[in-house]
Symmetry: C2
Subunit: 406 residues, 2 copies
Amino acid sequence: MDSGQNREGQGDIVFRREKLDQASAIMNELDLDLWLTFVRESETTKDPSLDVLVGANVTWQSAFMVTRQGRRVAIVGSLDKTRIERSGTFPEVRGYVGGISSELLSMLGELDPARIALNYSLDTELADGLTHGMYLLLQNILKGTPYGERFVSSERLVAALRGRKTPSEVDRIRRACQATVAIFGELTERLKVGLTEKQVAAIITERMESRGLEPAWEAIQCPAVFTGPGSAGAHAGPTDTPIESGHIMNVDFGVKVDGYCSDLQRTWYFRRKGEDKAPKEVQRGFDTIRDAVHKAADALRPGKMGWEIDAIARSHIVEAGYEEYPHALGHQVGRVAHDGRALLCPHWERYGDRGDQPIEEGQVYTIEPRLTVPGFGIATIEEIVWVRSDGVEFLSDPQMELIEVG
Amino acid sequence: MDSGQNREGQGDIVFRREKLDQASAIMNELDLDLWLTFVRESETTKDPSLDVLVGANVTWQSAFMVTRQGRRVAIVGSLDKTRIERSGTFPEVRGYVGGISSELLSMLGELDPARIALNYSLDTELADGLTHGMYLLLQNILKGTPYGERFVSSERLVAALRGRKTPSEVDRIRRACQATVAIFGELTERLKVGLTEKQVAAIITERMESRGLEPAWEAIQCPAVFTGPGSAGAHAGPTDTPIESGHIMNVDFGVKVDGYCSDLQRTWYFRRKGEDKAPKEVQRGFDTIRDAVHKAADALRPGKMGWEIDAIARSHIVEAGYEEYPHALGHQVGRVAHDGRALLCPHWERYGDRGDQPIEEGQVYTIEPRLTVPGFGIATIEEIVWVRSDGVEFLSDPQMELIEVG
């Protein structure tokens, strides 16, 4: 019961209500009458919007309804009623025993919404929490009513709601970034040749836990640690591979502070005997990455498209003679490490329309190019920036110099 | 990095391969050619089948394909490739950079499956991990091919795979049950009037952590503790309400052992001054629940339907003059606390067809009726039984007597 990550205080209720008021305002902007989140057994299959709406799980089929006027009604199984009432964001909670359809139909009849936002999206997983089976079930329930034909994707609503951070959301992310940078500093003091990737990860985890923080994504690869030319490079857990002289090591790590994530990367170099600085090719790789980050950050502002920002960093790296990175330049960060809809990404099939969303004030992005320095390892930097009206602000001190050890 | 729940050992790989061999055997039985799990950003929206297939997350659109012949092919974003290879259950892992469609189409063309099981289900959340957006995306990719019309729900496959437990799965659940019962025993020794629900929960959590175990469901309501006539009764976290003399208290709690859950409930009574035993109405409430559990267990065997077993316990309680419980009698248990498809449930809308699935040998069920003793609290017992060819075996010692304190 003392697991901090699950404990929701009064502050979180106030905070969630603020976001739900923002949701209704966005619904007016987008001409949406009702936002319907239709879920069940959310511990097993979680609609990510549930965390924004109530921060609690449900067992049976449940409907969370938010109107453009700000009314909030939840229909849940009777044994879940107390829990949802206690979560404090839905003033009207209706419990049922046999089945949800009669309460749901009566509520829809009362509200008679013309445009209903439902959580499905081809390219945005955070607006795609409705399962296909639940979609079919909903259509079964609505047979004979006009509502089954009034659905639109909630992706624009979810994109705006998760993207436009309130000051208190930015404050939480900033604190998460600053804690992460401080932990990187403490790690540097303890780094030496011979430590394995797992040992490096253990140092970071210990420093995180000493602050009472939890990892921003699954612990098995948060931190992720990659040392040397043979490492996996990304998206894998640390191994027993030891750091050797002449290795580039990079770490990808983030923490959660009051439910909000950081996600940062740093690059270290381990000097070989007789070296008083990193070899030229290592330094050039690092400098290329650093400059790509800052060129992209300088261009990032409201109204630009994500693909334009990605192209700046990508072409900087390719023009310097390196292979292009096999992923997007950056993603949004928030309650989850990969948040929001707009991405700083190329026009690749796998990103759908996400690179063509105009960047908005209040969004928070990572910038994280990478390149391989053959024979040494992978140079990466990941920074987090907050989009202001006239440019961006880094939420923690960026890495300007290669960190050299030994 | 030392978070035990996320660490997968060599044993888990062997174990998962066993389950995937079982999946191919079931596919032959059900005349299915391909099981296709189509997912993305699985840390955000997780298809529960992913845990059975690989036990690792993916970032971009990914396809996990299992054939009836036992071939297993994964198509994942290039940066996820190492991680999925290391997970050890998919011998063929193909990475892509731009988009998944060309690899996916070429693989489907090569396999040319006539019947493709896809993870969507109206009534079974564990077979309903495909989001509606991903379903639409898949149909877009398959336009112009015959495959989009060859989909069937994977619910029968998932039901059999999760339901028919291997001996090592049952062993894990048994160990989880035994640890839970031992913790209940340790709790009893420390119970006294005046402790709050939260303090009771803290004792249980401490005892769990001292064994290096984690809760079977979200920590905020595992354990769930309910004392006295005014308690929420179910599905809510513990409060600051103190135990008083004359209270019935019940606890709902489970742990995970090697990835498998227990889920048990016990009932205590706190004697009032001068009482040398529980009042008659409390004893009668407890006895009614206990007898309902054992009548249901005696009837539970392969070939019966869940609704028949539910009806036995339900009518026993109603005939004794109590209100019927507002939920199913029992659910399956496995990698998640609410597992499988077949349920011991009445014919209520919210349970769909789940009470009409024949019970199979090898399944593991809870039996958990409840009733209210007015003025005292809620009496509940939850036991876990394993279905054998000729009846059931309790996986831990059942509660036969009311536990009296004071």
